[in-house]
C-alpha cells in the first residue's frame, strides 16, 4: 500500500513539474542604459514594470534592468563603462558611438527596423535620412533646432508686428534696446543673446544670407566649406553690426545656457532661442515664476537677401540615440521592446505618463495635470501618433510645425577618424575669428587672413576630402 502511494505521488509530481517548468521559464533579461532613466527614480521603475506587464500580455516575457548611470557627465561615464567591458543590450548614446561602430560593437538596425511593425512608421523624415547614412542609432524624436522667442507683453509694448524680414529683426532689437521694456530707467537690454557661440543666430540667419548647407560651391564651381564663403562673410558682418549697435550681447561667448536664460528672465535680453517645444515651455514656465501671466511668442525665421528658413539639418547621422550592442544575446527581444514603445499603447505610456498622476480620464476625455510638465518620453516620440490631449503652449506647438515646414537636409557627412585633428583645429580657428569680427577686435577686411588661417589649420584637407565625397554623391 505504502509502495503504491509513493509511486502515485512520484508520478503526479513528475507530471506536474513537466507541465509547470515551461510555464515558469525565466523571462529574458535585457539591460538598458539611458540618460535620465534609471533605477533610482520611482517613476522609471513603475514605467518599466508596466512595460514588462504589457509585453508579457503580448507573449514577450522580459525582465528589464535599468543600469544606474548618473545623468551628469553621462556621455563620459558611459564611455568608461563600455571600456570596462560592461556592455548592456540597449545603449543610449550622446556621442562616442562612432568609436563603437568602428569596433563593430553596434548593430546595423536597418533589417530590424524594416521588419518591425511600428518603428518603421514612427520615424520622422530626418530619421529616415540619418538611418540611411548611419544605421546604428535610433532617435525617434522631432528634429531639434534653435528658434527665437520673445515675451508677448514686450512685443506688444514695442508696437511692432512679429518680424518677417532681417530688417524687421533689426527694428525689433532696436525697440527692445531703446524702449526700456523692463522699466529700470536704463537702455540696457540687449535685443538678443545666445549661449557660447553664434550657432543659435545662425539657425535663423543662415538661409537669409544664402548659406544653404555646410558645403557650397565657390565661384570656380568647387565645393568649399560654407564657413569661408562670401555669404558667411556677409552674415558675420551683419552680426558685427548688431553688436556695434548694442543689439547683440557682446558677452555671448562667456554666456552659458543657464546665464542666457537668466538674462531673459531678468530683462537683460529680449530674445533668446529654445531648441525644442519642450525647452520653450520650460522657458515659459520659468518666466511666469518671475513675471506671472507672461506668455512667450515664437518668432519666424526672416526673409533675407538670399532666402528664408531654418538652418539645413545635419542628416549624416543621429548625434544621439539608442543602439543595440552586437554582444547582446537578445537582439530580437530588444527590438520587440522598441517596437512596443513605438506602438499606440507604448506611446500612450511613454508620452502621457501615468493615469491619475500626469493625466486624468473621464469617459473619452483626457485632461493633463500639472505634473505633465515634468514628464518626458523615455524612449521615443513617434511621428505617426498624436496624444489624445494637447498640453504644450502655442509657441511650443508652433515651433514644431515651423521646424517641419522649413526642414531641409544638409549636405554634411560622417568624417573618417583621420580628420579629427583638422576638424578640431578649424573649428577653433573659426570660432575665435568670428568672435574677433563681432567684437570689433578684427575688421571685416581681414577676412582673407582668417580664410588663410582656416585653410592652414587643416581646412584645405577638409575641402579636398569633401570634394571627393560630394562629387561622388552626384
Amino acid at each position: 500500500m505504502l509502495r503504491r502511494v509513493f509511486l502515485m505521488t512520484s508520478t503526479a509530481l513528475a507530471l506536474s513539474l513537466a507541465v509547470a517548468v515551461p510555464a515558469m521559464a525565466e523571462p529574458v533579461k535585457i539591460r538598458i542604459v539611458s540618460k535620465d532613466f534609471g533605477p533610482t527614480n520611482p517613476d522609471d521603475v513603475k514605467h518599466v514594470k508596466r512595460i514588462e506587464d504589457a509585453l508579457r500580455a503580448q507573449g514577450t516575457d522580459l525582465d528589464i534592468e535599468l543600469v544606474d548611470l548618473p545623468s551628469s557627465g553621462y556621455a563620459d561615464k558611459l564611455s568608461v563603462m563600455l571600456l570596462s567591458g560592461d556592455i548592456p543590450d540597449l545603449i543610449y548614446f550622446q556621442g562616442g558611438d562612432a568609436k563603437m561602430v568602428e569596433q563593430g560593437v553596434l548593430e546595423d538596425l536597418t533589417p530590424m527596423i524594416a521588419e518591425s511593425k511600428h518603428v518603421k512608421d514612427a520615424l520622422w523624415p530626418h530619421n529616415v535620412e540619418r538611418l540611411k547614412n548611419y544605421p546604428y542609432l535610433l532617435y525617434v524624436y522631432p528634429v531639434r533646432g534653435p528658434q527665437p522667442v520673445i515675451r508677448k507683453d514686450w512685443l506688444e509694448k514695442t508696437g511692432l508686428k512679429a518680424p518677417e524680414t532681417v530688417e524687421d529683426y533689426v527694428t525689433l532689437f532696436k525697440a527692445i534696446k531703446d524702449g526700456d521694456l523692463d522699466g529700470n530707467g536704463k537702455a540696457d537690454t540687449y535685443g538678443v543673446t545666445t549661449a557660447d557661440n553664434t550657432n543659435e543666430l545662425d539657425s535663423i540667419f543662415n538661409q537669409a544670407f544664402g548659406i544653404t548647407g555646410s558645403w557650397m560651391k565657390n565661384a570656380a564651381g568647387e565645393w568649399v566649406h560654407a564657413r569661408i564663403t562670401s555669404q558667411e562673410k556677409d552674415k558675420i558682418a551683419f552680426y558685427a553690426s548688431l553688436r556695434e549697435q548694442g543689439l547683440y550681447d557682446p558677452e555671448y561667448i562667456t554666456t552659458k545656457f543657464d546665464v542666457k536664460e537668466d538674462k531673459f528672465y531678468t530683462g537683460k535680453a529680449g530674445v533668446i532661442f529654445g531648441s525644442s517645444g519642450e525647452v520653450i515651455d520650460i522657458y515659459g514656465g520659468k518666466m511666469r515664476q518671475v513675471h506671472p501671466g507672461t506668455e512667450l511668442v515664437l518668432l519666424s525665421p526672416p526673409k533675407g537677401p538670399a532666402g528664408q528658413g531654418l538652418s539645413a539639418v545635419d542628416v549624416s547621422k543621429e548625434s544621439r540615440g539608442f543602439a543595440i550592442s552586437t554582444t547582446s544575446k537578445h537582439e530580437a527581444e530588444v527590438m520587440k521592446l522598441l517596437d512596443f514603445m513605438a506602438s499606440p499603447e507604448g506611446q500612450m505610456m511613454d508620452r502621457l505618463g501615468f493615469e491619475g498622476q500626469e493625466f486624468t480620464k473621464e469617459g473619452d476625455s483626457y485632461k493633463v495635470t500639472d505634473k505633465i510638465s515634468t514628464w518626458y518620453a523615455r524612449f521615443m516620440v513617434a511621428a505617426n501618433w498624436q496624444p489624445p490631449v494637447v498640453w504644450q503652449s502655442q509657441a511650443a506647438q508652433q515651433s514644431l510645425s515651423t521646424i517641419q515646414k522649413y526642414f531641409k537636409p544638409d549636405n554634411s557627412f560622417v568624417w573618417p577618424g583621420d580628420y579629427a585633428a583638422d576638424l578640431d583645429a578649424t573649428e577653433n580657428v573659426y570660432r575665435a575669428w568670428v568672435y574677433k569680427f563681432i567684437s570689433g577686435e578684427a575688421k571685416m577686411d581681414q577676412w582673407d587672413q582668417y580664410v588663410a588661417e582656416w585653410e592652414a589649420a587643416g581646412g584645405k584637407r577638409l575641402n579636398e576630402h569633401a570634394r571627393t565625397v560630394l562629387d561622388a554623391a552626384k
Partner: protein
C-alpha cells in the same frame, strides 16, 4: 636627577627608550613586537593605505593600454610605442604641453609664496576672534567648486557690468574683457587659483609656525629683536622644512594645471592659450574614445612629473639639507 628624568632623557627610537631595545631582535620578532605595540595606529592608517593602493597604485598597471590598441570587446592588440609616435608627431600635443608648462610655472612662481605670506600674517594677528574670523573667511573659497568660482569671476570680470571693470572705470582705466583676452586669461587662472587655495594651503604653514619652540622667540626678544626680525630670523627658518617638503610635492604636481579650472574658464577665443594636457586627455580619451592615445599622453605627463619630483628633491637637499626622503 630622578629615575623619571633619566627615562625622559634617555636616547630613544621613536617613542621607545633605546634601553628598552635589547640586542638585535630577529626581523619577524621585531615586526610582531611592533605590531603588538602599535597595532591601533596601523589600523587607523589602513584606510589611507588602501585608498592609495586601490586608486593610485593599482591603476598604474592599467596604464599598459598606452602600448595597446584598446578593443571594447577584448583582447586588446599590442602596438608598442605607436601612440607615443602619433602623440609626438601632433603639433597640437606640443602646444598643449607648452600651455601646461607655462600655466604650471606661473602658478608655482606666483602661488607658492602666497600661503606662506598668509600664514605669517595670520600668525601676527593678536586678537583671538579676529584671527578666527580671518582664518574662516580665507578657507571658505577652498570649498567652492570651480563651476561656482568660474560663474562668480565671469560675472565679476564682465566688461559691461562686472565689479572689476567698474572699479577700473572709477580709476579712469578703460574696460577690458579679461575672459576673452588671450594675454590675460592665464593670469585669470593664476589669480583664481590663489583666491581659492591660498587660505587653505596656509593651514600647513600655520601649523608649522605654531610648532616652533616659544623659547626661540623669548631668546630673540631678550636679544632685542623686533617683530620683523623675529619673523625673518625665527619664524621663516622654522618653517623651511615644511616649505621644502611642499615645494617638492608641488613639483610632482607641477603638470597638473587643473582640468576643472581650465574647463570652466575656457571659451572659443582663449582655448588655444589654456588648452592643457589634462583637457587634451579628457577630450581625446573620453569624448572621442581614443583611450590609448589619451593614456599615452597621461603617462608621458606622469613620467615628467616623477622626474620633476626627484629633481626637486635633490635640489632641495642640496640647498636646504631637507628632502622628502
Amino acid at each position: 636627577m630622578t629615575d623619571h628624568d633619566q627615562t625622559l632623557n634617555a636616547p630613544r627610537i621613536g617613542n621607545v627608550p633605546k634601553s628598552a631595545v635589547r640586542g638585535k631582535p630577529k626581523r619577524a620578532t621585531a615586526f610582531a613586537n611592533g605590531w603588538r605595540r602599535w597595532w591601533p595606529f596601523y589600523v587607523m592608517m589602513a584606510p589611507g593605505l588602501a585608498f592609495f593602493l586601490v586608486l593610485h597604485y593599482l591603476p598604474i598597471w592599467e596604464a599598459r593600454i598606452a602600448f595597446e590598441q584598446v578593443r571594447i570587446v577584448p583582447p586588446n592588440i599590442w602596438v608598442g610605442l605607436k601612440h607615443f609616435y602619433v602623440l609626438f608627431a601632433s603639433p597640437v600635443f606640443w602646444q598643449v604641453l607648452a600651455n601646461t608648462l607655462i600655466i604650471s610655472a606661473m602658478k608655482m612662481a606666483f602661488f607658492l609664496p602666497v600661503p606662506i605670506l598668509v600664514a605669517l600674517l595670520i600668525n601676527e594677528v593678536r586678537g583671538g576672534r579676529l584671527r578666527k574670523f580671518i582664518q574662516s573667511a580665507i578657507y571658505l573659497p577652498h570649498f567652492l567648486s570651480w563651476v561656482v568660482i568660474a560663474g562668480v569671476f565671469i560675472a565679476a570680470l564682465s566688461p559691461t557690468d562686472g565689479a572689476v571693470n567698474n572699479l577700473m572705470g572709477m580709476a579712469g582705466i578703460a574696460p577690458r574683457s579679461f575672459m576673452t583676452d588671450t594675454g590675460a586669461i592665464r593670469w585669470v587662472l593664476v589669480f583664481t587659483e590663489i583666491w581659492r587655495s591660498a587660505g587653505w594651503d596656509s593651514l600647513l604653514y600655520l601649523a608649522a609656525i605654531i610648532a616652533i619652540d616659544q623659547q626661540l622667540y623669548d631668546a630673540a626678544e631678550i636679544d632685542g629683536a623686533n617683530r620683523w626680525q623675529k619673523i625673518w630670523h625665527v619664524t621663516l627658518p622654522g618653517i623651511v622644512p615644511t616649505i621644502a617638503t611642499l615645494f617638492i610635492l608641488n613639483a610632482g604636481m607641477f603638470l597638473n594645471a587643473d582640468l576643472n579650472q581650465v574647463i570652466n574658464f575656457s571659451n572659443d577665443v582663449v582655448r588655444s592659450k589654456i588648452d592643457i594636457v589634462d583637457t587634451y586627455v579628457y577630450r581625446i580619451g573620453l569624448q572621442t574614445g581614443e583611450y590609448s592615445l589619451a593614456t599615452a599622453a597621461g603617462l608621458f605627463k606622469a613620467v615628467l612629473g616623477t622626474m620633476m619630483i626627484v629633481t626637486a628633491h635633490f635640489v632641495s637637499k642640496r640647498l636646504t639639507g631637507k628632502g622628502v626622503w
